[in-house]
Structure formats: C-alpha cells, structure tokens
Amino acid sequence: MESWSRRMVVAAATLVLHAVIFLGFHYYEQSLKQTYARESQARHRQWKREDQEREKKLQQAMNEQYGRAPEERVYHNPAMDLKQLLSFFAQRNLPKACEASAGVDRFTEFSVYLKCVRPPAKEVRTQYLRSILAWVDPAYVFQVAFIEEDGPTIVAEQPCLLKVKNWSSARDSEIIRACF
C-alpha cells in the first residue's frame, strides 16, 4: 500500500515537472520570438527612415534635373499631364481671397476657374493669366473663368488667349486689349 502511494507521488511529480517544462520552454520560445520581432521591427523602422531620407534626396536630385524653380520642375517633368500641369499653375500664383481649380470637359477643353470674393482688377487678372500661360501653351487652354461670389463671371476664352503672341513677355496692355 505504501509503495503504491509512493508510485502515485512519483507519477504526480512527473506530471508537474512535465507541465513546468512545457510552460518554461513555451515562455522561453515566446520571449525569443518577441525579441526577434522587436529587433526586426526596429530594423524595419530604421529602413523606413532611411528609405524616406533616400527618397527625399533622390526626389531633390531629380527635381534639380528638371530645373531650379518649382515652375521649371513641373514644366519639364514629362510625368505631369496636361491637367496636373494646369492645376499646378492655376494654384501657383493665386490672387488674394481667391481659390482656383482646373478641370477638363470634352476631352480637350481644359478650363481654369478662379473664384474670388471680390472681382479681381484687370491688372490682377492679367498677371494671373500670364502666370499660367507663360508655362502652359494657350492652345491647350479652353478658357480661364474669373468667378465672383454673387457676381457675374468674366471669361477669357481661347481665341483671346491665342491673340497674345508671347505670354512670358506680353505687356499688361497687350493682354488687356486681347482679353478684357
């Protein structure tokens, strides 16, 4: 009887030891995995930082290839399509209290809409047109609409835009004569 109880104690102790071994190793495995995962995460974070820095440097170098001024960079970048090009220049030299958008209707009819609280003066409209059309071929611009909140819309349509021979060097008077 005594030997049976001793055997039972041994068996029970064995079971307890099995559980301890299982739990001990399980804990060790988990902590090992966690350590490696932490190291891997730290490594990936560092790579991400490195990637971002490299991307920035590369982008900068790439931009410098296209030009020094932001306008040149956009203009010379073949990846910028007509809509992106027009959007960029429409947003670039916004008059005060105005917001601009560019869109395309009917495949080739690219328009710029400048919406202002107050109607922009002729000179402001002229400068705005020049800031866009010095870079974007007027043959691609269907119209530039100056929209006043609660007021009428003034539109510079393509025929007038084409009348100006060189938008980069055009005088205000020439643009006003052609369009306003």
Partner: protein, 271 residues
C-alpha cells in the same frame, strides 16, 4: 507464509517502483529533449531569417539606386529634348481622337456614345443623324432631319431653359446666358458635324427658343404659349472628314458659323 515468497513479493514491488521511476525520468528526459530541439530549431530559423532579410534589403537598395540613376539620366535627357512638351502634345492629340481612357465626365462618355452611333449602319443615314441630334442637343429639343438628294440638313430647336449655364459663379446675368447659348450652339454644331459628316450632313441650323405665356386678349383669362426665338445660328459644310471636326474647338465653330438672329445683343446691358 514462508519467508521466501515474502522476499520475492518485496523484490517485485521494488522492481515495479524502480520501473515507474525510470519511466518517469525517461519521459521527462524525452520531453526536455524535444522542447530543447524545438527551441534550437526556432533560434536557428530566426538567426537565418535576419541575414536573409538584410541581404534582400541590400539588394532592394541597390536596385532602387540603379533605377534612380537611370531616371536621373533620363530626366536630364528629357529636359534637353523638351520631352515634356512632346508628351503633352501627344496627350492632346490622343484627347482630340477621343481616346476612351480619357473619358471621365458624362459629357465625354456622351461623345463616345455619339462616336459609336456614327458607326452604326443599321439605322440608316437619317436615323443615325436623328439619334446623334438627340445626344448632341439638350433634352426637349426639337429635331428635324431633311434629306435632299445626297445631302442631309438638320434643324434643331433648343429650349432656352435647357441651355446649361455655368453655375460656378454666384449670379448669372444676360451676358453669362448669352455666352452659354453661343457655346451650346457651337458645341451642338461641332458635335453633329464631327459625328454626322460621314452621314452626308451638309448643314446644321440651331435655334434657341424661349417659351413665354401670352394672352391674346386681356379680357380672356386663358393664356397661350408661344415660342420666341432668342438666337439662331447655322453652318454649312461639305467636309465629310470627321477628324477635321474633331480637331477644332468651339471657338473655331463660333467664328465659322453664321448668326442669323441674336436677341441678346439688343437686351444685353453694356458692362
């Protein structure tokens, strides 16, 4: 009981106890062994993964760098060749050809539908022109197609109320409406020639009408509706080349079309 069998029983008991103990120890040893092997394998795997990851990373960085150097060289070439301008000219040309990939707006999808219709042969030339006119003009427009010998002519009556006016501004005045009418008429004429020229369309005339309620006699309370013509313009052409019409803009059509009646000129205030 004799002492001999008693001793034998005690020996057997001891043997069983020893066996149990050995069995327990062996099972523990096996368990420890298996788990240790698993841990070692895991460690090995984790250690093996890290250098592989590092190697892949180095490879990726090298490839990125090479791609960038190529892009940089390409960018320098692009500026010298004026490639951006060429790419945009090509984009514009493809847009003029109404490439399906550029069709984003409802208007563009409508134009593609017109292009599809213009290739439809089952409707007959007049049928195609009628369907094209329906798509080209605002809803509720009156459409008449006349066939004279080889050529067809079209007359359209567009309700002024259906002329789309740009509503981005806060207020629309007569000038805005006049512009919208001219653009709409020019657009209709261009679209009809662009897609109907192949159907021997020779002339298009568009009238913009306003429906007004009139009373013949003040004593009679009944009102009667009349259509007042606000604008009428037309264009005649025997160019059956759709590409010519697709490549010109509405400003060109405005220059080419003849305005027969323009009520706006009379009522428009001078700015």
């Amino acid at each position: 009981m004799s002492p001999k069998p008693k001793k034998a029983g005690a020996d057997r008991e001891r043997l069983i106890s020893i066996s149990v103990l050995v069995l327990c120890l062996v099972s523990l040893a096996v368990h420890v062994g298996i788990r240790a092997a698993m841990v070692l394998s895991l460690k090995h795997q984790l250690k093996k993964d890290a250098p592989a990851e590092l190697q892949a990373r180095e490879q990726e960085v090298r490839e990125d760098e090479a791609q960038f150097q190529a892009a940089l060289a390409d960018a320098a070439g692009a500026v010298q060749e004026g490639r951006a301008a060429k790419v945009r000219a090509e984009e514009f040309r493809r847009r003029q050809g109404m490439e399906e990939s550029f069709a984003q707006s409802l208007e563009e999808k409508r134009l593609l539908e017109m292009a599809r219709l213009s290739r439809e042969s089952s409707l007959g030339k007049v049928g195609v022109l009628e369907e094209l006119a329906k798509l080209a003009s605002p809803r509720s427009s009156g459409i008449r197609v006349r066939r004279e010998g080889k050529w067809s002519s079209m007359e359209l009556a567009v309700p002024l109320s259906e002329v789309p006016v740009d509503t981005r501004g806060g207020r629309q005045d007569t000038e805005d409406l006049h512009r919208a009418v001219r653009w709409t008429v020019a657009g209709i004429i261009r679209d009809l020639f662009a897609f109907g020229a192949a159907q021997d369309l020779q002339s298009v005339e568009v009238a913009v009408l306003k429906r007004v309620d009139v009373s013949r006699d003040s004593a009679v309370p009944e009102t009667r509706q009349e259509y007042l013509e606000f604008y009428r313009a037309g264009l005649a052409s025997r160019s059956s080349n759709p590409e010519v019409w697709l490549s010109i803009g509405r400003p060109d059509v405005l220059r080419m079309m003849s305005v027969q009646h323009d009520e706006f000129g009379r009522i428009m205030p001078r700015r």
